[in-house]
């Protein structure tokens, strides 16, 4: 199974009426979608609104999702249309290039653009989270850091990572898990203190 298969299984559950499955998809793709919409919409607060709107539209359009393309590809098209309609409704000029090819949607995200997707209020927390993640990464033992980097940044499968790190797949699994848990533990106090539970 791979990432695309997993999404498909979630979509199938959602199509059968399971809203929780859709929530898992929202949780997974929300920031990626926000990043995409920020290319069209200047105001981060509006980006949030449009992203939310796009997810609702996607949920309503689920019956017409046929699984020919990846879920995210389908989602980003809905996102772009939602953004366009929003800009038109606000009587602002929609950008002329609306055809983003799928590769760009999957493309590498620039680490320096937190500003595009954060309001001044959320910026403080976002920066703190980013800093905590980076610091914990720097302190991780090298094999844990490399494993999670190959997975999250290079998008490699466990099998490929195992080949590269010359260890069993079980070890890759364990390393990635331990890296995640180490970071999650440092994040927990931050996330719990988010009074408005926005995080």
């Amino acid at each position: 199974m791979d990432d695309r298969d997993l999404d498909r299984q979630l979509v199938e559950r959602a199509q059968r009426g399971d809203k929780h499955a859709f929530e898992l998809l929202v949780s997974k793709y929300q920031r990626k979608l926000a990043r995409l919409l920020a290319r069209f919409i200047r105001d981060p607060a509006e980006v949030e609104d449009v992203a939310q709107e796009a997810f609702i539209k996607a949920y309503r359009a689920l019956p017409s999702f046929r699984g020919d393309s990846a879920f995210y590809t389908w989602l980003y098209r809905i996102g772009i249309n939602t953004a366009k309609n929003y800009l038109v409704a606000m009587k602002r000029r929609a950008p002329t290039t609306t055809e983003f090819d799928a590769e760009e949607a999957e493309g590498f995200e620039n680490a320096e653009q937190l500003r595009d997707i954060n309001t001044p209020e959320s910026m403080v927390m976002s920066k703190e989270i980013a800093r905590t993640v980076n610091d914990t990464m720097d302190q991780l033992p090298e094999e844990l850091r490399n494993a999670i980097t190959l997975r999250e940044i290079e998008g490699m499968s466990y099998e490929d990572i195992a080949a590269i790190m010359n260890c069993p797949i079980g070890t890759v699994r364990s390393r990635i898990f331990r890296a995640r848990e180490a970071i999650a533990e440092r994040l927990r106090p931050l996330l719990d203190t988010g009074k408005d539970r926005r995080w």
């Binding site: 689920l62 937190l114 699994r173 539970r197 926005r198």
Partner: protein, 180 residues
């Protein structure tokens, strides 16, 4: 929890998926971990922004549940590098797939090892033709040599002839204890 971590990466046995998903959806702890793990992944890619999920969830509560007919999953064949069709065109265009018969099996296998010292030691001017062949020694660490090998590789003979740098010599493979 480790299972969830693997699950997030899509690394599970197929049969398990639907029941795993059911478990995740119904368990607050697992859901929270799912959210956190994805936040971590996004953060590593430079993407941190406020969580929308709760707001979307709130709005979804008002939406009627969708019921869509079950579709057959599309086959996701992995394209094979080897399956390139031979194309018509430039002069000699041939696709050849060779079976695994090693071409060099007839040749004697040479393990890296000390070469026999040929001739007597010849101290003297550098221009002397006959020199004793020095004995190679074990490299304590392969890593130091790598940098030199890499810098040198682009000039190596096979590179010169083939325009290709095999770069197979670029990195000493400590795992196999090849350096001798």
């Amino acid at each position: 929890m480790e299972k969830l971590s693997a699950f997030v990466d899509g690394e599970v046995q197929d049969g398990d998926v639907q029941s795993q998903l059911a478990r995740i959806e119904s368990d607050a702890g697992l859901r929270s971990a799912w959210n956190t793990y994805h936040l971590i992944g996004d953060a590593l890619r430079g993407n941190v922004s406020p969580d929308l999920t709760s707001r979307v969830v709130a709005r979804l509560r008002d939406e009627p549940a969708t019921l869509a007919p079950r579709r057959k999953p599309a086959g996701l064949g992995r394209w094979a590098w080897l399956a390139m069709p031979a194309a018509a065109g430039v002069a000699a265009v041939t696709l050849v797939v060779w079976t695994a018969a090693p071409i060099w099996q007839a040749e004697p296998q040479i393990a890296s090892g000390p070469i026999a010292a040929g001739g007597t030691a010849a101290p003297g001017p550098v221009t002397a033709v006959s020199l004793s062949a020095p004995e190679p020694r074990t490299l304590a660490s392969g890593i130091e040599v790598d940098n030199y090998l890499f810098a040198h590789q682009r000039y190596a003979p096979t590179s010169a002839m083939q325009g290709v740098v095999p770069y197979a010599r670029t990195v000493t493979d400590e795992r196999r204890g090849v350096s001798k």
